[in-house]
C-alpha cells in the first residue's frame, strides 16, 4: 500500500510548516573595510588627553616587548611571544574594561595584563618558568594566561554567564589569535555565548600568522569577523593598529554586552612584527618586504602623526613618554635579574585541597632527597675547610 493510500482518501500532502529565518543576518555582518579613526577625519574628535595617554601607553608597551625579548636572550625568560606591532590591541583591551570586568588573555597577551595594572613580574611568571601563573585571578580579574589555543574562550563565556545569573554588572573580554579561531573551542564558546546571550566580547587579533601558517591556510571565510553571523552575533572588523579605532569598537561591544544585548566578535587586523617567539625564525615563512610594509603602519606612528598634526607632540612630551617606558624596563630588568625563589616542596601543595596518601609519600621522598643533597653539600664544604 502506498503512503497516500494508507492515509485515506481525504489526505492531501501539505507544504511543510512555515519556516522563518530566526533573525535578519544583515545587521550582524561586518563592514566591508576595517574601521579606522586615525588618519581619517574622525580622528579630530578623539580627545586630546586620551590621545596623549594612549601614546604613553603604547610607548611603554613597545618598551615592555623589547625588554621581555632582551630578558629572553639573557636567559631570564624561557620564552617570550612578543606583541611588537600589536600594542594598540593590547593597550585598548586593557583600557576598555571596567574595574569589575574580567580579561581572559592568551599566552601572547601579557602586555594587556600589564597595561591593566598587573605587575610585569607576575605577568611573566609563566614565561620565566618559576610557576605556571603568577597572580591571583580573583583579585586581578585576569584569568591565567592560557596556552592551549582558544580553550579560555568557553571559560570567559561561563564566567560572564555566571555573573549575569548573579545579577552582577560584569563583562568578560576574551582574547584569541587568528590561528585560535580554527579550534573547536572557539566555535563552542561563540555558540554558547550567543545562545546564552552572555555578556562577553571575543577579540581576535589577526596578526597574519599562526606561528608560520598564514591566514589563507587557516580559513576560507570572507573574514574572521564574518564567522559571527553563523552564531547569531554581530561581527566587527577594525584596524588593529589604530588604537583609537580599536578602543571605540571594543568599547561599544563591551557596552552592548553590559546592557544585556549579548556577545560580539571583533576581528582586529594587525601584524606580528617579531617572530612567533624568540625561538622562531620568521624569515622562513615571510618576506622582508611584507614586514617593511607593516612597519609603515606602526600603531605608535599613527598616534604620533595625529598628535603632531594637532601640535601636541613636542620634545618634552616625547621625553616624558620615553622616561615612563624606561622606568618600566628598568624595574623589569632589576627584578627579573634577581634569581627566582623556588621551593621544590611547593610542587605538592596545590594538587588537591588535601594531598592523597600517595602524594604524601612522594612529598616525603622529595624532602629526604633534598635533605640528603643538603647534607652531602655541607659535608663537602666541611672537607674543603
Amino acid at each position: 500500500m502506498t503512503v497516500l493510500a494508507a492515509h485515506g482518501r481525504a489526505y492531501h500532502p501539505a507544504p511543510p510548516p512555515a519556516w522563518q529565518p530566526r533573525m535578519d543576518p544583515g545587521p550582524l555582518l561586518p563592514d566591508a573595510e576595517p574601521y579606522r579613526v586615525l588618519g581619517t577625519p574622525a580622528a579630530a574628535s578623539v580627545d586630546a588627553d586620551l590621545l596623549k595617554e594612549l601614546h604613553v601607553d603604547l610607548i611603554r608597551g613597545r618598551r615592555y616587548n623589547e625588554q621581555a625579548t632582551a630578558l629572553t636572550r639573557q636567559g631570564r625568560l624561557a620564552v617570550y611571544p612578543s606583541t611588537t606591532g600589536q600594542e594598540a590591541c593590547e593597550i585598548a583591551a586593557a583600557r576598555v574594561l571596567a574595574e569589575q570586568d574580567w580579561l581572559f588573555p592568551s599566552y601572547r597577551d601579557t602586555l594587556a595584563a600589564v597595561a591593566r595594572g598587573l605587575d610585569p613580574v607576575a605577568a611573566l611568571t609563566l614565561l620565566r618558568g618559576d610557576w605556571h601563573s603568577g597572580y591571583d585571578p580573583k583579585t586581578s580579574r585576569i584569568a591565567p594566561l592560557c596556552t592551549p589555543l582558544a580553550t579560555q574562550l568557553p571559560h570567559a563565556v561561563g564566567l560572564a554567564h555566571a555573573a549575569r545569573l548573579k545579577g552582577d554588572d560584569v563583562v568578560a573580554l576574551a582574547m584569541v589569535g587568528d590561528g585560535g579561531t580554527s579550534e573547536g573551542d572557539f566555535h563552542e564558546a561563540l555558540n554558547f555565548a550567543a545562545v546564552w546571550q552572555a555578556p562577553v566580547v571575543f577579540f581576535v587579533q589577526n596578526n597574519g600568522f599562526a606561528i608560520s601558517v598564514p591566514l589563507e591556510k587557516q580559513t576560507a571565510a570572507p573574514s574572521l569577523a564574518h564567522k559571527a553571523v553563523g552564531y547569531g552575533m554581530p561581527g566587527r572588523l577594525v584596524d588593529g593598529n589604530d588604537v583609537a579605532a580599536v578602543l571605540e569598537v571594543l568599547g561599544s561591544a563591551i557596552e552592548r554586552a553590559r546592557s544585556g544585548h549579548g556577545p560580539t566578535l571583533i576581528e582586529a587586523i594587525t601584524y606580528r612584527l617579531d617572530a612567533h617567539t624568540n625561538a622562531d625564525d620568521a624569515t622562513r615563512y615571510r618576506t622582508d618586504d611584507e614586514v617593511t610594509t607593516w612597519r609603515g603602519h606602526d600603531p605608535i606612528a599613527l598616534v604620533e602623526q595625529e598628535l603632531t598634526a594637532r601640535g601636541l607632540l613636542d620634545d618634552e612630551t616625547a621625553q616624558a613618554a620615553s622616561e615612563a617606558a624606561e622606568k618600566l624596563a628598568a624595574d623589569m630588568r632589576e627584578r627579573m635579574h634577581a634569581d627566582a625563589v623556588l621551593d621544590p616542596m611547593e610542587l605538592f601543595e596545590h594538587v588537591y585541597a588535601e594531598p592523597t596518601p600517595q602524594l604524601r609519600e612522594q612529598r616525603a621522598q622529595l624532602r629526604e632527597e633534598l635533605q640528603a643533597a643538603q647534607d652531602s653539600q655541607a659535608a663537602a664544604e666541611g672537607e674543603q675547610a
Binding site: W131, H132, S133, D136, P137, K138, A143, P144, P148, T151, L153, P154, H155, A156, V157, G158, L159, A160, H161, A162, A163, L165, K166, V170, A172, G184, D185, H187, E188, A189, N191, F192, V195, E346, E349, H350, V351, Y352, A353, T356, P357, Q358
Partner: protein
C-alpha cells in the same frame, strides 16, 4: 525507567527499596536545595530530565537557570563550567555517556585538573563531572566504555565511583561539596539496582578515599569498584562451594586510592585478585596490583592477579558477555592463586 520519584522529607519514615538512580537524583536535589551556587548542566538534563532521568524534575523545581539544557558540545559544557566555577558557582556537569565525554578531554586535562595548581591554590575548581560508564546494558558502540584509566592518570582529578545506593547518594553529595574537581563515574548497569534506602534520612557513608569491605573473608581478597562489585560479591558466594572464603573490597574512590585498607586486607588473606571492566593493559588493576606487591610482598602466597576487560575496543552488545568480567572468570582467577602452597590465613586476620 519510571519517573524517579523521591520521597519528600517527613513522608518516608518507612524505608522501602530505592534505586541507585533515585538516590543520585536525591543527591542532586538536596545539594541544589542546600546551596544556591550548585548548578546542573548538560545535554537533555532540563526538560527531559536526562537520558537516564537522573536530573528528573530539577529544572521544574529549581528553574532552567539552575538545571540547564546546554548546546550539544561537551568541551563547551565543561569549559563554560570552568568559567562558572571561577565566578564562585559549583557546577555539576552531566556527560551523557562515557564515550561522549571525550570531546571535553582537553578542558578536563588542561584546565579542570590544573587550575588549582596553576594558580598556587588561588583558584580551585569545585566542579563535579558525572559520567555514566561501563557496559552490560546492551548499548551500541560508544555507550559502554570504562574510561577510568584516563582520569586516574591525570593528577588533580578525584575519581569516585559508587557501587551501592547509599554510596551513590553520599558520594555524590561529597563530590559536589568538594572544592576539587571530581570525575563521578556512575555504573550505568547499577542505575536500577535496589537497596533499602530512604531519601528522607539518607544514611551516612564513609568519606571518599575510604574503601569499604563489602564482605569479610579469609582466603583471598577481591579488590574492585563500581559495576564489578556485585560481580565479586556473587563470585564470593559461589566460592564458598570450593571452600574459599573471599573478602571483597570496594574501593569507592580510585583517587584518592585507599592503599591502607587494601594492603591490610591482603596481608590478612595473603592473596589478591583485582577486578574491573576497563581493559587490563594500562588499566587501574596494574597500578593496584603493583602497589599491593610493593606493600604486601612478604605476605603474598601468590602473584596478584587481574581480571579485567580484554584489550579490545568495547564490543558490540551481542558479544559483550564474553568481554565483561563475570563470576566464572573471577573464580578461575581465584583458582590460580597457588593454593598448593598451603597458606591458610589464621583466624581474625592473625597473619598480619
Amino acid at each position: 525507567m519510571s519517573t524517579a520519584t523521591v520521597a519528600k522529607a517527613g513522608t518516608a519514615e518507612k524505608r522501602k527499596p530505592a534505586t541507585m538512580a533515585q538516590a543520585l537524583t536525591s543527591a542532586l536535589r538536596d545539594a541544589m536545595a542546600a546551596d544556591p551556587s550548585v548548578h546542573v548542566m548538560g545535554e537533555d538534563v532540563g526538560t527531559l530530565g536526562g537520558v537516564f532521568r537522573i536530573t528528573d524534575g530539577l529544572a521544574k523545581e529549581f528553574g532552567e537557570d539552575r538545571c540547564t539544557d546546554t548546546p550539544l558540545a561537551e568541551a563547551g559544557i565543561l569549559g563554560a563550567a570552568v568559567g562558572m566555577a571561577m565566578y564562585g558557582l559549583r557546577p555539576v556537569v552531566e556527560m551523557q555517556f562515557d564515550a561522549f565525554a571525550y570531546p571535553a578531554f582537553e578542558q578536563l586535562i588542561s584546565h579542570v585538573s590544573r587550575m588549582r595548581n596553576r594558580t598556587r591554590g588561588a583558584m580551585p575548581l569545585p566542579i563535579t563531572i558525572r559520567i555514566p560508564y561501563g557496559g552490560g546494558i546492551g548499548g551500541v558502540e560508544h555507550h559502554s566504555d570504562s574510561s577510568e584509566a584516563y582520569y586516574i592518570a591525570t593528577p588533580g582529578l578525584h575519581v569516585f565511583t559508587p557501587a551501592t545506593v547509599a554510596d551513590a547518594y553520599g558520594m555524590l553529595r561529597a563530590a559536589i561539596a568538594s572544592d576539587d574537581p571530581v570525575v563521578f563515574l556512575e555504573p550505568k548497569r547499577l542505575y536500577w539496582s535496589k537497596a533499602d534506602w530512604s531519601a528522607a534520612s539518607p544514611e551516612t557513608v564513609p568519606p571518599p578515599g575510604k574503601a569499604a569491605i563489602r564482605r569479610q573473608g579469609t582466603s583471598a581478597t577481591l579488590v574492585t569498584y563500581g559495576p564489578s562489585v556485585p560481580v565479586c560479591l556473587q563470585a564470593a558466594e559461589a566460592a564458598k562451594e570450593e571452600g574459599w572464603d573471599l573478602e571483597v573490597v570496594d574501593l569507592r574512590s580510585l583517587v584518592p586510592f585507599d592503599e591502607e585498607t587494601v594492603a591490610a586486607s591482603v596481608r590478612r588473606t595473603g592473596r589478591a585478585v583485582v577486578v574491573h571492566e576497563a581493559p587490563g593493559f594500562g588499566g587501574p588493576g596494574g597500578e593496584i596490583a603493583a602497589r599491593i606487591t610493593e606493600r604486601c610482598f612478604h605476605h603474598l602466597e601468590a602473584p596478584v592477579l587481574r581480571v579485567a576487560g580484554f584489550d579490545i575496543p568495547y564490543p558490540p552488545p551481542m558479544l559483550e558477555e564474553h568481554h565483561l568480567p563475570g563470576v566464572d572468570r573471577v573464580l578461575d582467577a581465584v583458582a590460580r592463586l597457588q593454593w598448593e602452597s598451603g597458606y591458610v590465613a589464621g583466624p581474625a586476620g592473625g597473619s598480619d
